[in-house]
Amino acid sequence: MLSAVRDASIDAPTPPDLPVDRKPATSANARRAAPSGRRFSHLEMKAAAFAYSRPTGLEEACALLAADDGARVIAGGQTLVPLMAMRLARPTRLVDIARVPDLAFVREEADAIAIGATTTQRTAEHHPLVHGKLPLLARALPFVGHTATRARGTIGGSLANADAAAEIALVAVTLGATIAYRDGERSGEIAAGDFFIGPMVTALPASAVLISARFPVWSESVGVGFHEISSRKSDFAFASAAAQVSIDPDGRCRRIAIGVGAATEVPLRLAAAEQALTGARLTPETVRAAVTDALADITPMADLHASAEYRRRVARTLAIRAIGEAYEKAGHVH
């Protein structure tokens, strides 16, 4: 029996001699590799090596980013760290802004709620100002990741990461939020509609730190709706839709904002549908026609989980549902 085991081990293919940081780095491997101490001076780790800085102010953070093309900002790390674990991202330096003062806040401004970049999704989710003034964001936040990832994940991080399926990005585009950044001495603002360029690509300058997002608050009472479909609860959405509606006393649509996410490379505001429905009575027929027209020209993404045609169809259905939900809630307000 023993010799058979030995033979088997001799016949087993020897692993190719990869550089240390290319070896599959599971904890099991680390445990096996560590005691021998022959080939590995360190335990193996998932992420490629990087330098770590924790600046105390924005100027210092921007200087660190400007000095190194491979530097990336980290706050909650809930999207960056998985990418680093899979080595899809290999930053040379992480600039940790989690403890830069005055970046975590939710505050009321004229006609808007401003949320600081390092505010966790969990804080925003439970914040009375978000519930009272930004019901659409409050409705969408429970769909973002899981309880444990919302505890660390930040509002700014989700926006800067610009995943096509990100719910916070969809709300920002739907409501026409403004994203503020600091780039060295310079401060700048970008409209959410111009901020997202492609999947994980934004208009944020390379050495800039996103500092806040300002979400407009409508002065009148609103109803909101949010729907998405994914393979498991809180997994990445195949399609999502957000809507906010206010109605006149006679029941006509006074103002409406509609957006779809995950279907296309960036969140999409359905301006044509908004125009068609403003001032109209929202019947199932008018809503279906307006949404169908608005989605006729989009170029949906396709992958092995969901085809382009599926995404278009589901985005349409979810948008109709979101508008329906928003309209019903707006009606209950009056």
Binding site: A28, A47, M84, L94, T147, R152
Partner: protein, 166 residues
């Protein structure tokens, strides 16, 4: 290769000084440097939840943060929940009693996620419990007994330290 950074971690009430490479996750640091192997390495990219620990009482994934980010927080692992060596917490007891575990791989994380829930919600509904553990994957139980365990522990904790009715 980047240099190691001196980091102070407060784990289960004890302060540890460790030298870590920036890329060492909190999970690997707890397991390989501090010998706290109750936090389990599952997917190691934030999907399975097996590495859950508490950061200032809130459930987080220890594979999705680097150890250098964790200084200054009060970290609680499953090893920190037991009242005394050889004893079980009310939650752990409830998991045993309702058969809330089989292979046990997800269990420390499930218990910590439930612990964080019960710390802020004495009377969770079934939906609250399901939501609290929705980020934790279990391939054995089908979740039914886990939900039952958390509900049982909640009931027992509500009844604790109350005057006995005459």
């Amino acid at each position: 290769m980047s240099t190691e950074l001196a980091t102070e971690l407060s784990v289960n009430g004890t302060t540890h000084r460790v030298d870590v490479e920036p890329r060492m996750t909190l999970l690997d640091c707890l397991r390989d440097k501090l010998g706290l192997v109750g936090a389990h390495a599952g997917c190691e990219h934030g999907v399975c939840g097996a590495c859950t620990v508490l950061l200032d009482g809130i459930a987080v994934r220890s594979c999705l943060m680097f150890a250098v980010q964790a200084d200054g927080y009060a970290i609680t692992t499953i090893e920190g929940l037991t009242p005394a060596p050889g004893e079980l917490s009310v939650l752990q007891d409830a998991f045993c009693e309702t058969h809330g575990l089989q292979c046990g791989y997800c269990t420390p994380a499930m218990i910590l996620a439930a612990h964080a829930l019960l710390a802020g919600n004495q009377s969770p509904t079934r939906e609250d419990i399901v939501e609290a553990i929705s980020g934790n994957i279990c391939r054995c139980t089908g979740y039914g007994q886990i939900v039952e365990a958390v509900a049982l522990a909640a009931e027992r904790l509500r009844g604790a330290n109350r005057p006995v009715e005459p």
